[in-house]
C-alpha cells in the first residue's frame, strides 16, 4: 500500500500541484496577516475538478508552505504572519537586527522542516495512542490548558507578569464581542451590526503587530538591520543541528498541542518557547537573539500543524479551522474521514500521507532557495519598508471579508499596539486571549453544566487539578525562587559578618 501510495503521489501532475502549492503558500505566508486559513480557503475552490489525491496534496502543500512562510514576517519585520508565529518574533527579530537575518532564516527553515517530519512520523506511527490521551481530556481540562497557555505567556513576558495577565483578560473580553456561543445573545456590540460577528482576528493582529511596528520603525529611521549584513543560511543549519535537546522538547510540545482539537497552533509555539527557556542554563539570553528561542517555536509550530491532521483524518474531528477546510475538501471529494478513510479508500490514505511528507521537502527546498533573498528585506530602508507594510496590512485586513471597517480596526489596534510596545505591555498576551476566548468560554460553560452549576469540577478531576497546580506553580515559582535566593544571600551575609566578628 505504501509503495502504491508513493507511486501515485510521485505522478507528474501531483508533483506539479505540490510545487505550485508550495510557491503559492510561501508568497501568501510571507504577507503579514495572511496565514494558512486564507491560503487554504482560497485554494479549496480550485480543487473542484481534481482527483481526491491531487486535491489533498495541493492543500497539504499550501498548508505547510504558508505555515513556514508565516515566519518570514516574524523574523524580518517583527510581525507574526499568523497566530502560530507569535513566539518566532521574540528571538528571530533580535537576530535580524543583529545582522543575522540569514542565520535566523536558516534556523527557521530547518526547524520547520524537522517539525514537519516529527509531526508526520507521529501522524503515521503513533496517532492512535495520542488520540487516546486526547480523548481523556474533557471541558475542564481544556479550560485549564487554555488558562495555562495564557499564564505561561504572561510569565514569558520578561518580568511583566501582571500586565501580561491583564492583557490576556482584555483579549478574552475582546473575544466576547458578538454573539454568545451558548445563548446567541448579542454582547458588547454597542449597537453596531458589524460587531455582531465578533471582532475580526486577522485585522486585530495586523494592527497590534504590523502597524504598531511601523510607528516604531519610523522613529528609528535607517533600516531594520543595525549591521548591514544578513549572515549565512547555512550557519543557521549548523546551529540548529547542534541543539538535539531543543528539537526533541519542541517536537513533543508541538505534537501534543496538535492533537488537542482547536487549542493547538496558537499555544504550541508559545509553550515550546517557554519550555525551552525553562530548560536553558542561560534563560537571560532569551529575547535577545537566542537561536534556541527561535528553533523551539518553529519546530513546535510545524509539528503541531501536521499533528493537527491526526484527529482530522483519524476521527473526523478537525484540529483547527484550517483542518476544518481539509475536512470539507475530503467530504467534497467523496471521502469519509475517520476509520472508514483508512479501511475503505485503498491506497488513498497512503498517497495523502506521502503527499504530506513531500510537502515538507518541497517547502524546505524552495524556502532554502529563497531564504537569503527574503532575508535581505531587513536591509531595505525603513522609508520604503514602512509604506510597504502599511499597504500590505490594509490589503491583508480587507481581503478576508471585504469590509472597510476591518481596515479601521487594524489602524485602531495599530495605535494601541504602538502604545503597548512603548510601555512594555506584551501584546502577544492580548492576542492569545482573543484567540482562545471562544474555546475558554465554551469549555467553562460545559464544565459548569457537567458539574451541575458547581465550579468544583475544575478541582476534582485529577488531570484538570494537575494542570491547574502546574499553572499556579509556574506563576509563583519565579517569586519563590527569588525569595529563597534572597534569604540564602541574607544568611550568607550574616554568617560572613559573624565570622568577621569572631
Amino acid at each position: 500500500m505504501w509503495l502504491e501510495g508513493l507511486m501515485i503521489a510521485l505522478q507528474p501532475i501531483n508533483l506539479l500541484y505540490l510545487l505550485l502549492g508550495t510557491a503559492f503558500g510561501l508568497v501568501i505566508g510571507a504577507l503579514p496577516g495572511l496565514g494558512p486559513m486564507f491560503a487554504v480557503a482560497l485554494t479549496l475552490p480550485l480543487t473542484y475538478g481534481m482527483e481526491p489525491a491531487s486535491a489533498i496534496i495541493l492543500l497539504a502543500a499550501v498548508h505547510a508552505a504558508t505555515a513556514y512562510g508565516d515566519s518570514f514576517a516574524s523574523i524580518l519585520i517583527n510581525t507574526p504572519g499568523g497566530v502560530g508565529s507569535v513566539a518566532s518574533c521574540w528571538d528571530g527579530y533580535p537576530m535580524a537586527q543583529k545582522g543575522q537575518a540569514g542565520v535566523a532564516m536558516g534556523i527557521s527553515a530547518l526547524g520547520s522542516f524537522m517539525g514537519g517530519i516529527i509531526g508526520w512520523v507521529s501522524l503515521v506511527a503513533i496517532s492512535p495512542l495520542l488520540i487516546m490521551v486526547a480523548l481523556k481530556m474533557g471541558p475542564a481540562e481544556y479550560f485549564m490548558v487554555a488558562l495555562m497557555a495564557l499564564s505561561l505567556l504572561a510569565l514569558a513576558s520578561h518580568g511583566r507578569v501582571l500586565k501580561g495577565l491583564f492583557l490576556g483578560g482584555i483579549g478574552l473580553l475582546l473575544s466576547f464581542i458578538g454573539r454568545d456561543p451558548i445563548t446567541a445573545e448579542a454582547r458588547f456590540t454597542f449597537g453596531y451590526l458589524y460587531l455582531e460577528d465578533g471582532l475580526p482576528l486577522a485585522p486585530t493582529v495586523l494592527g497590534l503587530f504590523a502597524l504598531s511596528q511601523v510607528l516604531v520603525l519610523s522613529e528609528q529611521g535607517g533600516s531594520i538591520a543595525q549591521i548591514r549584513t544578513v549572515g549565512k543560511v547555512w550557519e543557521g543549519f549548523k546551529l540548529a543541528l547542534r541543539l538535539p535537546g531543543t528539537i526533541v522538547r519542541a517536537g513533543i510540545v508541538g505534537i501534543f498541542m496538535g492533537i488537542l482539537p482547536a487549542l493547538g497552533l496558537a499555544s504550541a509555539n508559545i509553550l515550546a518557547y517557554f519550555a525551552e527557556k525553562r530548560a536553558s542554563k542561560h534563560p537571560e539570553t532569551f529575547g535577545q537573539g537566542e537561536p534556541r528561542g527561535l528553533l523551539a517555536p518553529e519546530i513546535a509550530k510545524n509539528a503541531c500543524i501536521v499533528g493537527d491532521l491526526i484527529p482530522t483524518f483519524a476521527l473526523g474531528i478537525p484540529g483547527s479551522s484550517v483542518t476544518a477546510i481539509f475536512l470539507a475538501a475530503m467530504i467534497m471529494h467523496g471521502l469519509q474521514p475517520g476509520v472508514q478513510f483508512f479501511e475503505r479508500s485503498g491506497a488513498l490514505p497512503y498517497t495523502v500521507f506521502v503527499g504530506i511528507l513531500l510537502a515538507q521537502f518541497s517547502f524546505f527546498i524552495m524556502g532554502l532557495l529563497l531564504a537569503r533573498q527574503f532575508a535581505k528585506a531587513v536591509l531595505i530602508p525603513n522609508a520604503l519598508l514602512i509604506p510597504l507594510i502599511v499597504v500590505l496590512s490594509v490589503v491583508g485586513s480587507f481581503a478576508m471579508r471585504g469590509y472597510v471597517e476591518d481596515i479601521i480596526v487594524t489602524f485602531v489596534f495599530g495605535f494601541i499596539g504602538y502604545l503597548m510596545t512603548r510601555f512594555g505591555y506584551p501584546g502577544a498576551c492580548l492576542v492569545l486571549g482573543l484567540v482562545l476566548g471562544d474555546l475558554v468560554e465554551a469549555n467553562f460553560h460545559r464544565s459548569v453544566l457537567i458539574g451541575r452549576g458547581s465550579y468544583a469540577i475544575f478541582f476534582t478531576r485529577p488531570l484538570s487539578l494537575t494542570i491547574f497546580l502546574l499553572t499556579v506553580l509556574s506563576l509563583v515559582w519565579p517569586y519563590l525562587k527569588r525569595l529563597v535566593a534572597g534569604k540564602k544571600a541574607e544568611r550568607e551575609e550574616a554568617e560572613e559578618e559573624e565570622s568577621t566578628v569572631a
Partner: protein
Amino acid sequence: MGGARRMAILEGFLLLVLGGFAASFLVLSWELGQTAAMFPRLVAGVSLALLALAIVFQLMGRARARKKPLGTVTRAPDAVPWPAVLAAQIGYIALVVLVGFSLATVIYLAGSPLQMRYRRWGVLGAFAILLTATVVASFTYLFHVRLPEGILWSSLKSRY
C-alpha cells in the same frame, strides 16, 4: 522632563483605554442574561483587579527607584516622530475610502517615503507604480478579492 511627562500622559491614556474597556464590559454585563454574562463578568472583574495590582506595583517601583527613560531608541537622521506617520496613515485610509485603493495607494507609496527624507525619485516612482500594480493585479485576478473602489468612483459609476 517634558518628554517624560508626555510619556506618563500617554501611558495613562493607554491604561485609561484598557481599564475603561474592562470596566464598561463589567457594567454592560448586568444588562445581559445570566448565562451570557457569567464568564465576561468574571473575566472583567479579574482583569480590573490585575490592573489595579499592576498600577500599585508600578507606583511602588517608581517611588523606590528612579526609572530609566522609557522607549529610548537609536534614531537615524531620517527618523520621523510617530504622530506624523500616524497622520499619514489616517490620510491614507481616508483616501482609500474616498478615491479607492489603487489611486490612494499610488499617492501614499509615493508620498510616505518623502516624509522620511527619501529622495531617490526614480526608485520612488517605480516603487509606487509597480507595487500598486502588482498588489492590485494579484488580488483582483489571482485571488479574486475585490479591493475598495472608493465612494467617488462608485458614485461616478452609478451616475454614468
